[in-house]
């Protein structure tokens, strides 16, 4: 389905702007907001545990894990235009997977559970992508979103009905994660671990999206047919990014399981998928930092407001989401970030190109 002029996705002229040297150099002269924003957030996140009380640090750790999860949704929706309403499937499956590893085999070493969770997410996403995205007929966006939504719903139902997986109650009291002989419990230590992982994955994603692969993805989101005419295998590109995002969701899910100490069916189901859609749309899809900011704002607000307005908080959240979709389709990030910078430039830097051209 073509998405030209949909508002919520960036218009295609931006890619041309990156290609045209005149416009790009005019742009390069202006101050860039994005690196400043990223650096400011990183500094704020690094010193936060020193200033916050312990129980808030624990909460902040959870928010960072959810940021990681939001990144995974942003990659598929904001960059490849795949509306995955079942992103929680990979998050929850990895969570359940590592919980089982811990319960049945006593495995808690970070070097075993994180790769295992990531792998579970990756394989599950690859299989689902293989079914939903690949094939003779290109799949419509509606079909993919319905398929992923159904996947999450089905997993939720099955987990609820399964005695092995603990049914309604999930799997409680998972042992703490260990690094060597050191037990990692909630608090600043866990916080910095998650922060490090988040920064690492953020940078990897940033690198990936600024490469030729990212350029092809951006083109895909703008005009799928044109990219197909250029000779790209559109469905393969989509499946690859979907699997990568599944892997990231898997990492987030396994961290979440060990941080909370238990897993339950909401992690798999529609509830969690809704959450992540909310974070990313709120912050601004199509920018990695938007997903992080959206998560931080939504979770921060809900931490602050839900004590006083517990009953109406979900309604407020829904109204805010609707307002953002209607009036700020690019998310809150678009208040400070210009359109050109949001999409940025691709491939080798412009200076090198200019030197190479003549």
């Amino acid at each position: 389905m073509s998405s030209t002029g949909t508002g919520i996705q960036p218009p295609s002229r931006v890619i041309e702007a990156a290609r045209s040297p005149v416009m790009a150099s005019a742009f390069a002269g202006r101050t860039k907001v994005l690196p400043i924003l990223e650096l400011a957030l990183l500094i704020a996140a690094s010193i936060a545990p020193l200033l916050l009380r312990d129980y808030i640090t624990v909460y902040a750790t959870r928010v960072l894990i959810l940021c990681l999860f939001a990144l995974s949704f942003d990659l598929v929706w904001g960059y490849a235009g795949i509306l995955s309403l079942g992103q929680s499937l990979f998050f929850g499956m990895a969570g359940y997977g590592v919980a089982l590893l811990s319960r049945d085999f006593g495995v808690g070493s970070i070097f075993a559970v994180l790769p295992a969770g990531t792998l579970i997410g990756f394989v599950a996403a690859l299989l689902l992508a293989g079914f939903l995205l690949l094939g003779r007929h290109p799949s419509s966006v509606v079909f993919v979103s319905l398929g992923t939504l159904t996947g999450a719903y089905a997993a939720d139902r099955l987990a609820r009905g399964s005695h092995y997986l603990g049914g309604q109650n999930g799997i409680p009291s998972i042992q703490p994660m260990t690094i060597g002989s050191h037990e990692l419990s909630e608090g600043p230590g866990f916080y910095y671990l998650v922060l490090a992982i988040l920064v690492l994955i953020y940078l990897l994603s940033r690198f990936l999206l600024r490469s030729q692969f990212g350029l092809a993805l951006a083109g895909l989101r703008e005009n799928e047919q044109r990219i197909a005419f250029f000779g790209y295998k559109v469905q393969h590109l989509k499946a690859i990014i979907f699997a990568i995002s599944g892997a990231i969701a898997g990492t987030a899910g396994s961290l979440y399981a060990f941080h909370e100490g238990f897993v339950w069916t909401n992690m798999l189901g529609v509830v969690m998928s809704t959450q992540v859609v909310l974070y990313v749309l709120f912050g601004g899809s199509g920018t990695l930092i938007g997903a992080v900011i959206g998560t931080a704002i939504v979770e921060g607000l809900s931490f602050w407001l839900s004590d006083n307005y517990r009953d109406i908080w979900p309604i407020i959240l829904g109204v805010l989401l609707l307002l953002v979709i209607l009036f700020r389709p690019l998310g809150l990030i678009s208040l400070v970030l210009g359109e050109r910078e949001r999409v940025g430039s691709f491939g080798p830097s412009l200076k090198e190109k200019r030197n190479a051209a003549p």
């Binding site: 508002g7 079909f143 979103s145 089905a154 609707l322 979709i325 209607l326």
Partner: protein, 287 residues
Amino acid sequence: MDTLLIAMFEILSFGAIVVLVVLGLGIIASMMGIFNFAQGEFVLLGAYVTYLVHSVGLPVPLGMLAAPVVVGALGFVLEKLVVRRFYAAPIVAMLGTYALGLIIREAVRGLTGGLYLSVPEPISGSITIGSLHFATWRGVIVIITLLVMAASHALLAYTSFGLRVRASLENPSLARASGISTGMIYSLTFAFGAALAGLAGALIVPVFSLFADLGIRFLIQGFVAVMVGGVGSFAGPVAGASVIGTFSAWLPWLMSPVIADVLVFVLAIIFIKFRPQGLVSGRGVNR
């Protein structure tokens, strides 16, 4: 033999419920090209209105009459305020209606206090034929579904309103050039679809009882049914709903309900994968 007849009746009445839920969704999807993710919550709202009328002491059938009117009116207002901004962008429409649904769902959850609330059947008891007993209310649902289906089809196929709706579907700019106010037609069509969902909610609330997540299940079921049947025609969603309804009611007799529930959806998704145009391919309303 007796069990078979009872099973057939169960399947028929559950199929009728699914058809009722899907009809509104299918009409909005086919006639307007909008996948309304708030449709499940319109069902929920219809159920809630019925409960509200019942809880103030008025008779339940009155609530069932009020539900489609209230939900239809709300649909009209929402279309004017929100949904019409999305026609150019069907994917954004999904997200926007998703947000609308979230608001309705959470509002109802707040109002009901997260409880399961029950509404009595307006016509209770059962009909006895020979040695078999059938719940009367389920029979009533089947009959009402048939009537609503026939009326909707007649409305779209034979009235001048239906002609305008179909004209706006086929070629909006030509319809506007011929003096049809397509904006108004879209508002009315959306309101009509919402009213059907409201009616469905009102009729099923005695069977399922009222709880905030009532809508989600029907939403997924409805979407799967519309896609299985095929978007764009009147017959498609109805056919899809019959198939999904039949399987949803029949499979639990063969296996555990949880597995059956999931299996129906998985089979449906596989079917859609290999036949994206659905059971009934084609557009418009056959006369």
